[in-house]
Structures are given as structure tokens and as C-alpha cells.
Symmetry: C2
Subunit: 340 residues, 2 copies
């Protein structure tokens, strides 16, 4: 009886001891997909400073905010933004009901699969495409279309899909590392907020309320006695460039301590982030690895592909402001997870 009691107590005590050990043991490398270097070190230093109680840069857990651009920062954006691929697929699916599109730009080029023409589309062309593919339906119907498309989505150059599997392993590691240290992680994307919310939880561990993105106007209606939110062909908010600083203030209401981007559209997010009091950090992913992914600039003389452009002036500003430029080639041991 006594032996049994001792054994039971010992089991309980050992369980308690193990819990304590797990909490206090020396942490393993939280970022194994990163090579050692200034970018990785800067992330670890920021987290250490923000989480050191009593230190000059300590931030209470509820005030720890990290923001990540999506296209080109968290997942592959070449040769085209995945949301553009979705829109193009929708045009093809809707074409039988729209015989007039065969002779009408920009639909004609989309239906002909003319990649050169598509690459030249201007904002007006894309707005027309977004209007017919993303609006004139309620939000539930739009979500169904996205959910239906995602599993059969495909990157046409890498010949890999779904697009949600083409995320950057080092960025997923940083998101987890930050969350383990009390940060709320947000996507702050020029992409559609409603589009991205359909997979952000499964793909990044980011819930719908932590996806800040571009949006169109929605209108409340009662249809057959049930309320619906109807998507109108009208832009409501563009979460890109200066809109990212506006969006952070509007949706989060707190300034991030750390922000990740990769293009000129992230310039103001990093300016806004790093202009805050205390320790802050801005980082830019630079696509300089043509072998393992893509190489584009036009900074540092890399090709200007017009998708996710990283200009020389952004590179200069990064240096002037002490932002970390992440070389995909040198800083990332792994870029993509193996194909599923």
C-alpha cells in the first residue's frame, strides 16, 4: 500500500518535474531553416529584447504584434500572384456564359492563354477581371469558389500545387517562433482579404481576424428571408503601399514590433513599423536565388519582372534605415518544403 502510494506520488511529482524542465531547458535553434547571419540574428535579438522582463525594450505579451506580407514574402508570387491564377481560372469557367469575351479585352487574352499580353495588363484590366470573377455574389458563394479552386491550384512554372504548399519554410518558422513568444502574427497583404482568409489558418496558423487585406464593397441584403453580404464590383480598400500602414492602424490598432515584406508595396509598412518607439525591426525578402526559386529585382541588377518589384530605391532605403535584407540564396537553408 505504502509502495503503491509512493509510486503514485512519484509519478505525479515526475510529471510536475518534466513540465518544469520543459519550461526552463535551453531552447534549441528556433529557426533551423535559416543559415546563421545578420538577418537570423536580428530576428532573435528582437524577440529577446521584446520578451526580456525588466529590459528597456520589454513589451507586454498582449501588445506584441508581427506583420507579414504574403505574396513573395510568405509564399511564391512568380510567375503570377496566385489570386491572379484564381481569377484566370474563373474567367475560363465562366466563358461559356459569356461568348462576347472571345472578342473583348482583357478577357480575350486570358481565354487565349496569352501570357505576354496578361503580363502587360494594367490596373484597369485587372479591375475588370476582379469585378467579373470576385463580385456579383454573396460572401458565402465566393468562399465556396475559393475552397473549390484551392486543391486543384497549380504554379505553372514550378509545376507544383496546390499554391498553399508553396510557402517559405523559414517564414513559417519565424511565425511559429514569434507566436511561441507571445506575438500575434498578422498577414498584411495587397491580396484579397476574403480570398486569403479561406486558407490562412491551415496554411500559416493565422485566423481570419488576423488577415488584413484589400477588399471590395459588401452590401447587406435580405434574400429569401435570410441576410446575405453581397460583393459589389467596387473597390473598398487597397491594402498596398501606404495602404498597409493605414490598414495596420485600421485593423490592428497597434504598431508592430517586427514586419516582413519583399517589395516596394511593403515600403510604408516597414517605415511605419520601424518609426515606433523602442526596438523595432523591418525585414525584406530578396529573391536572388534563380536555382532554387526565382531571381528578380530590379534592385542589384536583377531582372524587373513587374511582379513583386524590389526597386533600387527600396534597397537604398533599407540600408539607410537599418532594415535587414534577407538573401534567399545565402540566408535560407531551405526555401520550400518538399512537394507533397
Amino acid at each position: 500500500m505504502l509502495n503503491k502510494t509512493i509510486r503514485s506520488l512519484a509519478v505525479l511529482a515526475t510529471a510536475g518535474f518534466l513540465v518544469l524542465s520543459a519550461g526552463t531547458c535551453r531552447a534549441e535553434d528556433p529557426l533551423p531553416a535559416w543559415n546563421d547571419g545578420p538577418a537570423k540574428q536580428a530576428v532573435i535579438d528582437l524577440v529577446t529584447a521584446v520578451t526580456t522582463e525588466g529590459g528597456p525594450d520589454f513589451v507586454a505579451p498582449e501588445d506584441r504584434v508581427a506583420t507579414f506580407d504574403q505574396d513573395g514574402t510568405s509564399w511564391v508570387e512568380h510567375p503570377a500572384y496566385p489570386q491572379a491564377l484564381f481569377a484566370i481560372d474563373r474567367i475560363a469557367a465562366m466563358a461559356p456564359q459569356h461568348p462576347e469575351w472571345k472578342d473583348q479585352e482583357p478577357f480575350k487574352s486570358v481565354l487565349a492563354g496569352d501570357r505576354t499580353a496578361i503580363a502587360q495588363f494594367d490596373e484597369k484590366d485587372w479591375l475588370q477581371i476582379i469585378a467579373v470573377t470576385h463580385s456579383a455574389m454573396d460572401v458565402a458563394e465566393f468562399d465556396r469558389l475559393v475552397q473549390d479552386w484551392l486543391p486543384r491550384s497549380m504554379n505553372p512554372v514550378l509545376k507544383r500545387g496546390p499554391v498553399t504548399s508553396l510557402t517559405y519554410v523559414p517564414i513559417l518558422e519565424v511565425m511559429k517562433y514569434l507566436r511561441a513568444n507571445g506575438f500575434r502574427t498578422y498577414l498584411v497583404t495587397g491580396g484579397g482579404q476574403e480570398f486569403v482568409r479561406n486558407f490562412a489558418k491551415d496554411t500559416y496558423g493565422i485566423p481570419p481576424s488576423q488577415v488584413v487585406g484589400s477588399s471590395i464593397v459588401t452590401t447587406y441584403k435580405i434574400e429569401d428571408g435570410k441576410p446575405v453580404l453581397y460583393r459589389e464590383p467596387k473597390v473598398f480598400f487597397v491594402d498596398d503601399g501606404p495602404g498597409k500602414a493605414v490598414g495596420i492602424n485600421l485593423f490592428i490598432g497597434q504598431r508592430p514590433q517586427i514586419a516582413f515584406g519583399n517589395s516596394d508595396g511593403d515600403r510604408e509598412m516597414l517605415e511605419w513599423t520601424t518609426a515606433g518607439d523602442g526596438k523595432r525591426l523591418g525585414l525584406l525578402v530578396f529573391h536572388d536565388d534563380a536555382v532554387r526559386e526565382f531571381a528578380y529585382g530590379p534592385a542589384n541588377g536583377l531582372p524587373d519582372t513587374h511582379v513583386g518589384a524590389f526597386s533600387q530605391s527600396l534597397m537604398d532605403e533599407a540600408k539607410a534605415r537599418g532594415w535587414q535584407v534577407i538573401s534567399m540564396k545565402k540566408d535560407w537553408k531551405t526555401i520550400l518544403a518538399p512537394a507533397p
Copy 2:
């Protein structure tokens, strides 16, 4: 030695046992400021259903969302919305720099303290007042003005201040009860999002990112080398009426299981909430206690004061849809906390 070991183990085991007991002991009344009745019971039933694992209405903790209107639902809105009091105080403070206001409506009536005229102001009047008092400054300056005003704010009829102390104890209890059961609690207010974020954490335990409200356009600018978000005299989003359903989808991206309102401006929030799948609950606070607070309708023949109107058609819809109407007189044991 053996005895000491047993004693140590016993202490650890007892500690473990106490932790377990605390988790499983019978809960005390979570809503002591509520009288027993259908409204209180409906709240408890909703929480029980949503949190019962394996039950038909179980909702994962990360998907539990509760929304609360502010004016008239969470704090006193009579005789005027607290934010209108702020705007009126700002007009008085700015008047020396605007001698022309003495002869110019709506400023003339505000400066004369003409409550009858102020009560008749239409939307255009209020937009003019909001434009001069809430814009043409950066967000940091606006926050400073609100923080400066709050401690000296005062309800002119109750002769009590600050306005942040005039919250409803039963609603604060529900917010805590819901959070203790894994819900995220949101304010969804027609009031200014940036205004309310200045005190929502201290007043309600609600962080900035969980305040959904009306907003004006902000513009990103660089001033003296530092980025600022400049408040423009232009409405961006009106989070009232149908805008509350739109705002919930836009800012939260998930449908609440439970929503609290008190006026016609909350109708669509409750429709949207209760039209969701599974168990949902809408509740409306009805101000029928002229002795302890205020009595207004015009539903049930109470006076129509035009601030926080609860129409007969809303009362009829509440009955038809099974929403709970909370009688402040009968359902609430306590309304306000004693004056500080």
C-alpha cells in the same frame, strides 16, 4: 529520508490535486448582477451549448466570438453619446481660434449650450462638427486629445464622471464570463473606432484590435522624416445598421455566436448573428428604468428621445426571431457601479 521524500511528493501531488479541483468544482453564479429570468438563462444556455465538447452546438475556442454594441448597451448613452460630449467640448476649446463660429450653425448652438437646438442636429450638422473636431490632425494627436478629455468627462444629467465609469455592471459580467469560456469579445459600435480604442482595454478588457467602429479616411504622410497617419475630413466606414454586419465580416471574418445591442442600429448585427448555423443568441437591452437610469423607446410607449431609439418594429422582430429583450428594470439587479 524516506519520510521527507514522501512528504515532498505529497506536497507536489496535493498541488496537482488542487489544480484539478479548481478546474472541475461547481461554478458559482457567473452573473450575480442579473436577476434570474429568461435573459440570464439564455446567456448561460448559449455558453453551455457552445462549450460542451461532443455536443451538437460545440464551437472550437478559437471560433467563439461575441459582439457588443457600446452606446446604450455597454455604457450610458443619455442624454447624449459620450463622443458627442467630447466633440462639444472640443468646439468650446477651439472657439477662440474660430471667432466666425459665434454666428455660424451648428457651432453657434454648441457654443451657446443650446441643448434643444443640439438635440435637433441632423447628420450634416454632426458631420461638420466631427470634421472640425476629429480630423485635420494625425492619429497620435487625436489620441492625445481623447486621453486628455476622458478623466474630466462628465454625464451632464447623472452629474457623474468620467464617462468610462458609467458602464453597465451586468454587461461587464457577461464579457468576463464569455472570455472565461474562451470567447473573444468585440465592441461593434457606431462610435468612432479610434476614439473607443483609447479606453476599451481599461474599461472593458477589450484590446484595440477587437474594437470595430466607424472611421474616417486616414492618409499616410512623411512629416519631418517621420511617417504619420493623417485624419481627413471624410467618412470611410459607418459601422451602424447594415454596416454592423458588414463590419463584423470585414474586421472579424467570423460570425458571432452571441450579440448584444439596444437600438435600431443593432438590428442587422442581430439578424446576421442569429442567421448562422447552430445555436446563436441575440439580445437587446431595453431602457425601461427611469428611476435607476433612463426610460426610452419609442417601443412599448416609452418616450422617443432620438438617441438610441428602440422602435416598436424592432421589438416585434425580437419577438418573432426569439431574441431576448433585457428589461433593465426587471433583469438587472445592479445597473451602474457606485460612483468612484
